[in-house]
Structure formats: C-alpha cells, structure tokens
Symmetry: C2
Subunit: 603 residues, 2 copies
C-alpha cells in the first residue's frame, strides 16, 4: 500500500484545522523565539569559544532541525509563511559551517573536537537524522536542494566512517532516529546507498561486539536499544522514544526489503506496547528513569512519564504499520494518540508544552518542597514554553502540520480511510472529500473517486454505527464500492466508561470516561478539590455540555464521602452527591494549577 | 510519672509470651550466627588490616551492641541464658581494644584512623549510643560494671572533644541515638555530666554553625535532623529513625529539666507523625529516599518504606510521652506499632526480617527483572536473615524481651495500665496481675494493690466496653478505685472496616480490615491472585476462623469482576462472589512469595 502524503490533503475545517492554524500562527513563532533566546539558533554559526556561557548542547541541532521541518510543512501549504527567512538563515549556517567532510554538529565543531564519533550516547547521529528529515522537507517545500545535498554529503561521510572504515567507537546510534531519516533520504534521492546504511544500522542494533554499554544505572543496553537483534524482539524496552523511532525505521526497512522476520518483530512489539504498556491516553514510557518502558501493565497514573515525543513516536510507528498491514488496530492507536496523550503536550494557546503527560495531578504532592522530596520525581503541573531538553515543542511544530499524512493509504483497488477529518485530498488519480465535525460527533460524509473500493475504519471505541451503503467488514474496516457514491457514515458516540485490565493496579476500582476517541478528565478547577475521592456511577447519566475546549464538556453526578479530619476512621460514611464536570484530557492544566484525574473511583 | 521497668514484669502466657520465647530460643542465636558469619563479632578484635576483605563497617558496632542489649534483657529473666558467654566475649573485645582515650570503634581503630570525629555521617556517636545502652543493660542484668565503666570513659572523652575542646568537625550526631543513651547513662550512674552532654546535643541540633551539611541529594539538613532547633519543630522530617530516636531523647530531656517549650515541640511532632504521616500499621517513613518522612498524607502502600526500626523508634517515643502526659493516644500508638508495623518485621519462625514493611505486594512488580527496572526501588517480598545494613534484626532482639516496659506508669496515687498482656508485676510497693488472652479477645481480669486508683486505657479502636466497677473516663483512661478490687473488663472486639483520610490518595476507594488493634491483610496464597481488584462489602459478614498465626483469621466475601484480556474494556462487568480469607498483617509473607494487600477496594 502507498500513503497519501499530507501535501496532497487539505484539512479545510474543524478540529485539526484549528490546531494547524494555531501551530502556523502561534506555536512556530513562539518556539522560534524561545530557541533564539536559548542560543539554539546562534549556535549554528559555530562561533562559540571555550569559556563562554551557553555552550552549544549536543542535541540542540535536532531541536532546530525539527523546527525547520515544521516550517517546511507549513510552507508546502503557504509559500508566504513569514518564518521562512528564519529557517533559511539557519539552513545557510548549517551548510556553510559544515567541515571538509560535510560533518556538521554545533557542539562538536566548537568543543570536544577530538570526541567526534567517540561517544555513542552523544546524539551526533540523532542530530543528523533530524537534519536529514528537515532537508528532505525543505526540498519538498521549496524545491531548493542545497540543504539536501549538504546532508547527503554528511551522510556519505557517515557511511564512510561507519561502514567502510568502521572507525567510530560505536556501531549504531545510541539514540535511534537516523535510521528512519535514511529511508526518507533514500526515497527522496533514489540513492540506494542511503537505504543500505539504514539497513546496516537496523541490522547491527543489538547485533555487534562494539556497542556493549556499561550498565550504569538505567543507561543500559535496553536504554540504547541494544538488548537483542531487532528481529528477535517480542517486547518494547528501554527509552520509549528511541524504541518507537527505531521500530518505525524497522517497519520501513522490513517493508522495503520484504523482510518477514523483521516485520513480525514489528508486529510483536506493536502488540506488546498497545496491549500491555500504553496508557489509555496513548501515552507510553511509564517511568522517568531512562524515560522508559518498564514491565507489562506497569502504568502508574501520577508518575506517568508518557513523554509528548513518545506519543508522537508511537503514532509514527503505528502509521507505518497501517500502511503495511490492513488492520484497524494501527489507525485506532494513531487516533488514541493524536486526541489524547499527544495533544495534551501543547497548551490550548499553542505556546506551552508538557514533556511529561501524567494522568493524575495533586498539586499538594506534585509541587512539594524540593528540600524535603526531590521535585524531579514528579511531573510538573503546568506547561512551560521551553525546556532545557526541549525536544517536544518542535516535535509538535512538525507533527501537527503533517498530521493528515496518517489519514489515507491505498492499494490498486482500495482506498483506506484511517482517520476522519474535514478535508479534501487528491493524489495519483484518487480523490476523496470528507465532510464532518468529527470528533465533535460521529457523522462523516465521504465522496471519493479513482478507487474501486473504499475501506472505512470502524473505530475500536464504536459499537454501533450505520453506513448508507452495503458493506462488508474486514480487519476492522467497512469495505464498500466507492465509485460514484456519496457515503454517509454515523458512528454512534455515546459517553462510555472504561475499566483497565486487572493487572493495571493503579486503575483498580476506577473507571475512565471517554466519548469517541477522546479521554476525559476531572479537574479541581471545575469541581471540588478532592477528585481523588470522587466516585462516579457507570450507569448514571452523562450529558454533553458547552464546549470549553473545542469539544463538549461532560456533566455527570459525582459521589463523595464526608470529610474526616482523622487519619483513619470507620468506613461507614454515606455518599453525598455533587455535580461533576469533565473536560477533554488534552485540555487539562489550561486554567492554572489544579487537581486532575483521568481514572475516577467507580461507585 | 514513673515507669515500671520490664524487669519487674513477667509476661506469663499468651501472645507476647510466645514472641518472647521465640526471641529467647531462636531469634537471638540466629542473629548471632548471621552476625558472626558476616564478621561483625570478629571485627571487635580490631585485627583487620588494609587489603583484607570484610573491612569492619562504620556501624557494625551498633549491630552487636543492640544484640548484647537484647541478651542482657533475656539474662535479667534467665541468668542461665546460654548466649551469655558470646556476649561476654564481645564485651571483653570492646573493653580491651579501646584506645588510651577510651575510644572504641571497630572501623576507625583499624582504618581511616585520621578520620576520627571528621565525618558527621559516619556513625561514631551512634555506635557509642548503642554501646552505652548495652553497657547499662549489662550492668542491670549481671551486676558487672566493667563494660559500663568503659563506656563512661569513652563518653568522658566525647564530652572532652565535643564540649570542652570543640575539636570535632561537627557538633551533633549525624545519626541521633547517643542523646537518649546519655539519659540512660545518667540514670544508671547519677553522673550529671552525662545529662549535660545529652542536653548539649539536644540543644545544638539545628542550632549551630558547624553542622551545615552539603545538600547532596536527600542527605540534607532534614536527613541529619538539623533543619531547625528542636524546640521549634512542628513536623517530623527527614530520616524517620533518626527523627524518632532524637525526639525520644528530647522527651527525656524535656521531662528531666522541666522544659515546657521542648515538651510542646515533642507533642507537636508526635501529633504530626500520628495524625498525618503514619500508616495504619504504625509504620512511618514512607520513602526509601533517605528512609524519610515526606509530606503530610503521602503514604503510598506499595513502596511504603516503613522500616522495622522506625516502628520501634516510634514506640520508643510514644512510650516516653505516655510517661509524661496522661493521654491514651500515646499508648494507642504503641499498641498499633507492636501488633502491626513492628511485628511484621520478623517472621513467624523468628529467624528472618523485613527492613521495609510495605502494605501492598504484587510479586510481578516487586520482583521485576533488575536489568529493566531497578529492583531497589521496590521492597523485597520475603524476609531475609541478615542485611548488609542489619540494624533491624538486633533491634527486634532487644525490643521484644523488654516490651513489657511500655505497660505501666504510676504516679503517687494512680497506676496507669497502657497495654494489656497476661502478666504479673511488682514494683515499688505496687503489684498488678493481668489475666487475659488479649488481643485474641478483649476480656481482661486485673487485680492490683499498692495504688489508690488504677487507670485503664480504653483503646481508640474500641467503641463498646464494660467494666465491672464504677469508673470515670479521663484522657482516654477509665479510672477506678483499685484497692481490693477484682476488675473485669470487656473491650468488645468486632471486625471493623476503616477508611483513610481523603488526602491519602493511595487508599482512595479502599478500606482496611481491623479487629482490635490488629490490622488484617489478604494474601494471594489464601485467595485468588488478584487481590488488587477484590472488593469487599463493609456491611457484609466478617467471621473469625481458625488461627493460623496466633490470632484468628477472618472470613468474608470478596467481589471480583470477570477478567478481560484487553488493556482497556467497557466498565459494565458485574461482580462475582468469592470467599475471602484475611490474616493478620504481621503474619504476611510467611508462606512464600504472594500478593498482599492491606487496603481492599470497597464495594
């Protein structure tokens, strides 16, 4: 199956149009300003001298690269996007400061010069990966290929060092990302050498004698994605972003070289993540220690790490898998991520970000005096505009403008509709228009041409739907004859309460409220300051109310027990009813610090 | 008020007789053997040389000292106790290897010789404290005073260094304990200098210019009990054992010098601990980081640290307070500790110990592959015979033989009965006999003489009791005229369900089962392997059944929901009933690794 690139799709209205406008009009500039203030752009000029403050950090280039990539995606739709010149300046600095080998890294060019290719953990290849993605996007957006040629030259140098000379102190990237970028570079240039290099890294992970990391604390083989050859994997381990970037590349390579064993590993890892190691929000990586996966069903809510980048990386992996295997479970996960654990990463005003996306907040515990207990063990309770390790903000900048790229795949005779967004698409003789307020409701009108069949994903959350055509269901998709049809779908979207698998102990006795793909939460600001102890009745009434944050709020009845001042008291207190307001999870923490719970006690 | 020392009390039958026999016949020898194997006894000979294995550790002397103290307490009741000779050998080594100043420390005498009094954190004064306690006990048990005189000489040297010369690198013990030992030494010798030294340390804590600890991680001023002068304290902070040992000494000093301000601080700290920072088991110190108190109501169940020594230290503090202020809350806490969070620290066979006493265990999480997640973050699930840091086992050895010392205090005309144990006591013209199976049931017969009034603690858990005499209730005690009376008390002891304060979020929606002072728990070995998800009905039936572990088990009905293989599923499943067996918390983990929960979901 082929993908329809986002460049062929226009989101014309509704939920994601609002978010794309936000990124275009606010987020991109805000991130630019924060990065400029924190010297990430000036670092590209490579004029830093020993002894000066603000030494360029080893991964700053990747931050800038993702921002450039985002700008390029916006430029594809709007060639007059004013931040173009800022991107051009950064690109010019990168090109002009590359050394005689084509090597560029704003840290290692000005300091630690003798450490080039010596420290596996130090992100040189990771930065290159993001620079390649930016360069490919820039060429697509502007037609200018100088940046792309510069990155090809850099990559040729890497090929020489790692494949021909084997002269680096390590074999594979400590932080995977380059692997998937190399597939993009191969697709953009047609140069087989770049695919060879992608294969080289994919096959060498966990499968060479050099990359034996000393096990210091959590930075072990799992952390660096080296616990075993990828094709043997059955579980997702270690640093969750690294794991999912790498599995994304593995899926690309498996597809391109028709590698059944590697593809099977991708499927096993995907199932392990999504059936045993994923929050209901689509968040992954449940511990801050190594930003990592832990063990099956270990999904604590209050200390959930669930990095915004990890959510993005899971969507990236899932969207690759949906293009390989027709099974709606992949697109279901994309949907879960984009409406919840990803989107919570950015504030409603588009300026601030969460790195961690917990499912519970109690300010009295989260904001505890650091001299008594280390603050860094608990997620922050309010988004901020920039982090020291600021990978997430520019990842938002590139992800939202390109989000439509996960909507469609097509084979010879079938167009798969994975996501529902109000939009128009035209590609390769296939055209499709969706008219919908989804996910405000579940009604979607579709008209399509250029394909014999159209396969409509039936969302996993949906138990009751109607389509105004004859259909057969296969692999979670309703398949209908497309030509000349005006298709009307109605996915019933009642409020539902969900429980977690019994092994997820933090959710025992608790339920989450969802409507369609959207997870809801209760915040202190709308309710009492004791959400931890509020019960809801799963058989009670759940009414939609005015949308404060794009989608309707939900009103239900909460039940609390009278307060006791004692530490432990007789358990015979009776419930008292209170009105309870729920808001979409993605919108939490937009009105100041407040309690927040996704999982509420079940009465 | 005066205390009746345990040496005047014989526990003649029942619960604590069984435990005292266990310590005498099994635990003391088992701990001796483990300590001998791990070179703690041979270290006292001070023959270790640089380069040899098994370098004496800075706190090994304290381990041995507590063991000697325990042997002394057993010798008081049984002068033929066979381990006497082992204790004598250890004492002889300590006396003969002290240096010309009287200084003894099996680490600093053989290595780091130039570091004497240089490292506040290195337990020299802590070890001296335990050696003093052992020496006082040894004199009481045997009449021999050579050990006591040796420790007086060592203490004189400490007085010279810390008070007269002020030549140490620090002012107060990093690990408090010496302070309370000095009060004991003063009481044993009548030498005012030792009380002066106790006062010196008590008054200098948090109140001098030298003890500014560098804040490395959690080892900060709180950890070392230096956040402020003791008399200003309102909360319990830092390392919980250090805090409670220090507050025990503070209570002693406050009483002896009639210091209202310091006593008020003791009361505030006691209330803070017991009203906001104590598990229902009496466990304290909720985090492994610094073995410390954290913030009010932060009492996570699965990662509860709740060190066995911390429970002992809380009982020590509470039993001092009960001798100062007639308020049953102090003895209530002693009772809570001794039947629960302390007693869980030792196995039913008397040989193995918990350092940490969690309130939840899920073996699948606790025993996780250490390469994936650090094991030390989770409590172990089975007791062991010795730890590298083995403070808890010998603390059990000294605590249980002397436990009766917390039973009684008396003033001119009133004998206070704080604890109920089948026993006979005779002291200072007062005699009292208790005939009871407590806490198997709540019936106690008391005959007493030599006191005008007798004050019987009405346990805080008891709502319904009868006494066959006229009584008035004051400060939680039923006060009756004692002379010539045969008193019969019946504390009704139904099974009760308790809830936690709403701020204890780990207990939200959950209840604990207690009978009398004893907390119960559900273990996987008796039930299904999914205790985390078992609901109980607080209005349901709770029947006593055969005692597996000294006290009856409890039978009730549990409710579970059918399993789902999905990670998240609709919350509409109905309950299924299962029989549920509860055992006393102190007895958990005596039948192999198993799930365990104190707090069960409330239906």
């Amino acid at each position: 199956m082929k993908k329809i690139g986002f460049e062929h799709i226009n989101i014309t209205d509704g939920f994601w149009k609002i978010k794309q406008d936000m990124v275009k009009n606010i987020t991109t500039e805000s991130v630019y300003n924060r990065f400029a203030e924190t010297h990430r752009f000036s670092a590209l000029k490579c004029t830093w001298k020993e002894g000066e403050p603000d030494m360029p950090h080893i991964f700053w280039d990747s931050d800038v690269a993702k921002w450039i990539e985002g700008v390029a995606y916006i430029l594809i739709k709007d060639k007059d996007f004013p931040l173009k010149s800022k991107a051009e300046e950064a690109i010019a600095d990168i090109i002009s400061n590359a050394d005689e080998h084509g090597y560029f890294n704003s840290h290692f060019l000005v300091t630690d010069k003798d450490k080039r290719w010596q420290w596996r953990s130090h992100h040189e290849l990771y930065c290159l990966g993001h620079l390649i993605e930016a360069a490919v996007a820039w060429k697509d957006a502007t037609g200018e290929d100088e940046f792309l040629r510069a990155m090809c030259r850099f990559t040729d140098y890497v090929y020489h060092i790692f494949v021909e000379e084997d002269s680096a102190a390590f074999v594979t990237p400590g932080h995977p990302e380059l692997e998937l970028a190399l597939v993009k570079l191969y697709n953009a240039t047609g140069n087989r050498k770049y695919f060879d290099l992608a294969e080289f890294f994919i096959d060498k992970h966990g499968n060479n004698d050099k990359d034996c990391d000393t096990n210091n604390d959590f930075r072990n083989d799992y952390y660096n994605q080296d616990e075993m050859p990828l094709k043997n994997r059955t579980t997702a381990e270690g640093h969750s972003v690294r794991a999912m970037y790498l599995m994304s590349a593995a899926a690309d390579v498996a597809e391109l070289r028709d590698d059944e064993a590697l593809l099977d590993a991708c499927k096993r890892v995907f199932d392990n993540v999504t059936e045993k190691r994923m929050y209901i929000t689509g968040g992954i990586g449940s511990t801050h220690r190594g930003e990592a996966f832990t063990v099956d069903y270990d999904l604590p809510n209050r200390t959930a790490y669930a990095e915004t980048c990890a959510a993005i990386s899971l969507a990236m992996f899932a969207s690759r898998m949906q293009a390989i295997e027709p099974d709606s479970k992949y697109a279901d996960v994309v949907e879960k991520v984009i409406y919840n654990g990803f989107l919570s990463g950015v504030s409603m005003d588009g300026k601030s970000f969460f790195y961690e996306n917990p499912l519970e907040i109690d300010p009295d515990f989260n904001n505890v005096d650091t001299s008594v207990r280390e603050k860094r063990r608990m997620p922050i309770t309010q988004r901020v505009e920039v982090f020291e390790c600021s990978c997430c903000p520019p990842n938002v900048v590139r992800f939202i403008p390109s989000i439509a790229g996960m909507m469609y795949t097509y084979s010879d005779d079938t167009l798969y509709v994975h996501q529902y967004m109000n939009s128009e698409a035209e590609c390769d003789g296939v055209s499709i228009t969706q008219t919908t307020a989804y996910p405000a409701d579940g009604k979607v009108k579709i008209s399509a041409s250029g394909t014999k069949y159209i396969a409509l994903r039936i969302p996993s959350w949906c138990e009751d739907f109607s389509i105004n055509k004859t259909y057969t269901v296969k692999n979670g998709y309703a398949i209908i004859e497309a030509e000349g049809n005006d298709i009307e779908i109605d996915f019933a979207m009642p409020v539902e309460t969900l429980r977690a698998n019994r092994r997820v102990h933090g959710c025992a006795g608790r339920v989450a409220v969802m409507r369609g793909p959207v997870v809801y939460c209760a915040e202190g600001v709308d309710n009492c300051a004791d959400i931890a102890n509020v019960y809801i009745d799963t058989k009670g009434s759940f009414e939609l109310s005015r949308a404060k944050f794009l989608l309707p709020n939900i009103q239900t009845t909460g039940y609390i027990k009278p307060e006791t001042k004692k530490l432990y008291a007789k358990a015979d207190a009776e419930y008292k009813e209170i009105p309870l307001t729920l808001v979409p999870y993605y919108a939490f923490a937009n009105r100041g610090t407040s309690e927040m719970y996704v999982w509420l006690l079940q009465k």
